[in-house]
């Protein structure tokens, strides 16, 4: 029997402890997903409301589309920025798997770059023209959204292919030029749909949270946003349960069994299920009232917790997939302690700087609002 070829790990030791690299990977990947869900989910929400808002009977849809239009480029900017960090840490820990799967689908993997660029400029175009409501703004946004859906498909293919070293050699021999997709893996389609629908779930929660802040300025519009997004959140969460079950049935049985046999994975899974149910109840109950309550914020918070738990679960399943090929605990480590401390200090400093800039913006907005109220 031919052995399964897997590239050796790098001869250089890991530059930091595995727990720290893993923690950073999980945190930045969660933030990346939150931004990505905002870009993709927000794009779909904006498109739907833009099309709906072309009729005068739906002024709120039009207004929401215009508001989302101004946010979409920033959502995508942070998707990319946070994605870079996730890519960095996943390369340190799983580089030999990720590089190989990326090479096998090299053309499609590299195509992500021009595709993101087109989608990004599309978002900017939409943000500049949506308010006028004329021309091809809707078409451009539709193209951008379709591109993001395509990119998500490429990512899901790569992230599943990196877990399947047994397929690599045959795929490489079939198409050494990088025209491979991981179609033979039955989990690709449910996983893709789970990710895309997950974007709708999370962005609906984000929108409910944003809608709450609009209540003060325009109660009717704010309530409309909150209730719409709460309904969407509940619907997509229901669908997410079904897709999740499909995904569990599609992944290899021994991997799925990890959820039952491994106490940590089982606990994370159980808590994630509870937290999503809590999020749904909080958002639904909070939004149904005549004046939506702070429970919506709590529901939004629980959605983020769920997202983080799902990211952790995904990581544990990845470890189960790769167990025959790598043991992270056995890798040589030589921590670059001084540089790690410097990074952590700068990280805090960076967050503080961004916070300071946002504070400047908020302070100025507050002053202007007071001035308007006074006049």
């Amino acid at each position: 029997m031919q052995t399964i070829p897997v590239p050796h790990v790098d001869p250089l030791p890991l530059p930091g402890p595995v727990w720290l690299l893993t923690a950073l990977l999980l945190v930045v990947f969660t933030l990346h997903l939150a931004a990505m869900n905002s870009a993709l989910g927000g794009g779909i929400w904006a498109l739907w409301n833009y099309l709906r808002g072309r009729h005068s009977a739906h002024p709120y849809s039009r207004r929401l589309a215009n508001e989302l239009a101004t946010m979409l480029p920033a959502f995508l900017a942070f998707t990319v920025t946070l994605g870079v960090a996730a890519l960095l840490f996943v390369q340190v820990l799983f580089g030999n798997f990720l590089y190989t799967s990326s090479i096998l689908m090299g053309i499609l993997w590299l195509a992500v770059i021009p595709l993101v660029m087109v989608a990004y400029y599309g978002f900017y175009y939409f943000s500049f023209t949506a308010e006028q409501g004329k021309g091809i703004a809707g078409c451009v946004l539709a193209v951008s959204v379709c591109i993001l859906l395509g990119i998500a498909f490429i990512f899901v293919n790569n992230m599943t292919l990196m877990l399947s070293p047994g397929r690599w050699l045959a795929m490489y021999r079939a198409h050494p030029n990088g025209w491979n997709l991981n179609f033979n893996d039955h989990s690709v389609l449910p996983r893709y749909l789970h990710m895309v629908n997950g974007a709708m779930v999370l962005f609906s929660a984000i929108l409910a949270h944003l809608g709450m802040r609009k209540l003060k300025m325009d109660a009717d519009y704010g309530r409309w946003v909150v209730q719409r997004s709460a309904l969407a959140f509940a619907t997509h969460t229901g669908l997410q349960f079904l897709l999740g079950m499909w995904l569990l049935l599609a992944i290899p049985r021994e991997i799925a069994m990890v959820l039952l046999r491994d106490p940590l994975a089982g606990t994370v899974f159980g808590v994630a299920l509870l937290s999503v149910i809590a999020a749904m109840l909080l958002i639904l109950l909070g939004s149904l009232a005549e004046k939506p309550t702070a429970m919506v914020h709590a529901g939004f918070g629980m959605s983020l917790v769920t997202l983080f738990l799902m990211v952790c679960l995904r990581y544990l399943l990845r470890l189960a997939y790769l167990k025959p090929y790598i043991n992270l605990g056995a890798l040589a480590v030589r921590p670059q302690t001084g540089v790690i401390v410097l990074f952590l200090l700068l990280f805090v400093g960076g967050l503080a700087t961004v916070g300071y800039m946002l504070w400047l913006v908020a302070r100025s907005a507050k002053k202007r609002a007071s001035a308007v109220a006074a006049s």
Partner: protein, 534 residues
């Protein structure tokens, strides 16, 4: 050999270059342009110049659209591309500098946030706060350059890191500071060049044109000095490449200098002297000059590192120096993880070896295409010359495979062209002799040129005397392949060498040294005539 080789129609290195040049062009503008914007804004506010302030606002939108989208995404593009083309080298860099990249990411994050806020808050933020955001942007952007510069320079001059593997030895390497100054100067030049893209049509036009020209000129004053400083710090083998031994390098140096001087002339003429001449075609020419400067600079930076991608660690074909010996002993078939065939006797195996060993820099056709380079080679000669591949012009890694592998690759290379058949007459002997020389000798020698000239050996020889030496070539030195060309080609070759070596000497003295690209060291040996020839 650890990873599958991505087989593209073009060399992988060229793909990296395309993405990298575009990214470097925009990302340096992202640094200098941020500085330009915030300084220009302060100037406009201090002088209460509404037109200049309006220009700043317009320029900031263009700046954000270009740098946030194309600049940031092409940066990610480099990540993707190097991971696909050079996974081994990328892994080494990641394991060495993951925290440097993490720090750079923090600055990048701040930079993106600041750029978005800066472009969107011209009306909503008070002037002082808006400028604070602008300065935060510039400091974050320059710090991002500061960190990345350390990683890039490490690849050519790892310095003490080779012995210590210490992070700080790697990042603060011998070319860190000169390269940082040069890159900052380039950023300032590009800030000036891109400053013209949004040049006002009427009000404030002259002022902006002169102001942007000043930036270009200031950058151009610093750039040559910093490049000279950089030149004094790079390894000896890289200095030799830059001294003009290789044609591609010569062209790139001339191109880079030419584009820079042309940009300087345009800045002086159409920026300082007659701003009304700064029309769209002139601006387009300036942008092309900027791209040309960056293209030449990046080409040279990459080229002077050959045969390495990380000096003394990973070769340009993504092979670790430490792997070569095992490959030469055990052969590729027992070492590589991903081969397209398990049959070393098959033609597909030779092709596979070509992609594995040569595909990072060469395809069969096109730029650096092998087809024309091996025209006239037979399988035996090709297999023989592969042993000495690192000696060619100093830019090639050693051949990493056993004898069986060499023969398989030799058969593949020889099969790229039909075998030569000549009808040699007195009229075409010289021409065919030159062709044979270029095919058999020209990869390592010239007759009267700078590179390992043969004149000293053959100067006073007749064609038949020259030809008498051919059978002994393989015995003269370990670095010479056997000569096995057919008799008619040998005759023509001898005629050509004798003819060329008998020509009057050129006026300029030829340099005594040439790079050899020794596979396991950076020693540069003088190009001596082969022992025994004299």
């Amino acid at each position: 050999m650890n990873y599958p080789h991505w087989q593209l129609a073009i060399p992988g290195g060229m793909l990296i270059a395309l993405v990298a040049v575009l990214h470097v062009f925009i990302s340096h503008f992202a640094v200098g342009g941020g500085f330009f914007l915030v300084v220009t804004e302060s100037l406009a506010r201090r002088q209460k110049d509404a037109a200049l302030l309006k220009y700043c606002r317009r320029h900031s939108v263009f700046f954000a659209l270009l740098t946030l989208v194309a600049g940031a995404i092409t940066g990610v593009g480099i990540w993707f591309t190097i991971g696909l083309v050079s996974p081994e080298a990328t892994s080494t860099l990641i394991h060495t500098f993951v925290w440097a990249w993490a720090i750079e990411w923090v600055f990048f994050f701040v930079e993106i946030a600041a750029a978005i806020i800066y472009a969107k808050t011209w009306e909503s933020l008070p002037a002082r706060d808006h400028q604070i955001v602008g300065w935060i942007y510039f400091i974050a952007a320059w710090m991002s350059l500061f960190v990345i510069n350390g990683i890039l320079t490490f690849m050519l001059t790892p310095g003490r890191w080779i012995e210590t593997q210490n992070f700080w030895d790697g990042i603060l390497n011998p070319t860190f500071w000169p390269s940082l100054v040069a890159r900052t100067a380039v950023s300032v030049i590009l800030a000036g060049i891109f400053g013209y893209i949004t040049l006002p049509r009427y009000e404030g036009r002259e002022k902006v044109a002169r102001w942007a020209a000043l930036w270009m000129i200031a950058g151009m004053l610093v750039l040559p000095l910093s490049l000279w400083w950089y030149f004094t710090r790079i390894p000896q083998f890289s200095q030799l490449y830059l001294n003009g031994v290789l044609i591609g390098v010569r062209h790139a140096v001339r191109g880079g200098v030419g584009f820079t001087l042309l940009a300087l002339v345009i800045a002086l003429l159409c920026g300082v002297w007659k701003p009304r001449w700064m029309r769209a075609p002139v601006v387009a020419l300036l942008v092309i000059c900027g791209l040309g400067m960056i293209g030449a600079g990046e080409y040279l930076r990459e080229f002077v590192r050959k045969p390495w991608v990380i000096n003394q660690v990973v070769y340009a074909n993504d092979l670790r120096a430490s792997q070569v010996e095992a490959l030469q002993t055990n052969g590729v078939i027992h070492t590589a993880n991903f081969l397209l065939t398990d049959d070393p006797a098959s033609a597909a195996y030779g092709e596979n070896l070509f992609h594995l060993q040569c595909g990072s820099c060469h395809a069969t056709g096109g730029y650096r295409g092998m087809k024309r380079r091996v025209d006239g080679w037979d399988a035996e000669f090709a297999a023989d010359i592969l042993q000495h591949i690192h000696m060619l012009r100093g830019t090639m890694p050693p051949y990493a495979g056993n004898e069986e592998d060499r023969k398989a690759l030799g058969r593949y290379l020889a099969g790229l062209n039909p075998a030569w058949q000549f009808n040699i007459t007195d009229g075409n002997r010289l021409e065919i002799g030159e062709k044979v020389f270029n095919s058999r000798c020209g990869h390592c020698h010239t007759v009267n040129g700078k590179f390992r000239p043969l004149r000293g050996v053959f100067e006073k020889q007749t064609p038949s005397q020259v030809q008498e030496m051919f059978p002994a070539l393989g015995m003269m030195s370990n670095n010479m392949p056997n000569f096995n060309a057919p008799d008619d080609q040998a005759q023509a070759l001898a005629y050509y060498i004798a003819h060329e070596a008998g020509k009057p000497l050129p006026q300029k003295p030829v340099p005594a040294e040439a790079p050899t690209g020794s596979p396991h060291s950076q020693l540069v040996r003088p190009a001596q005539p082969q022992p025994g020839v004299r």
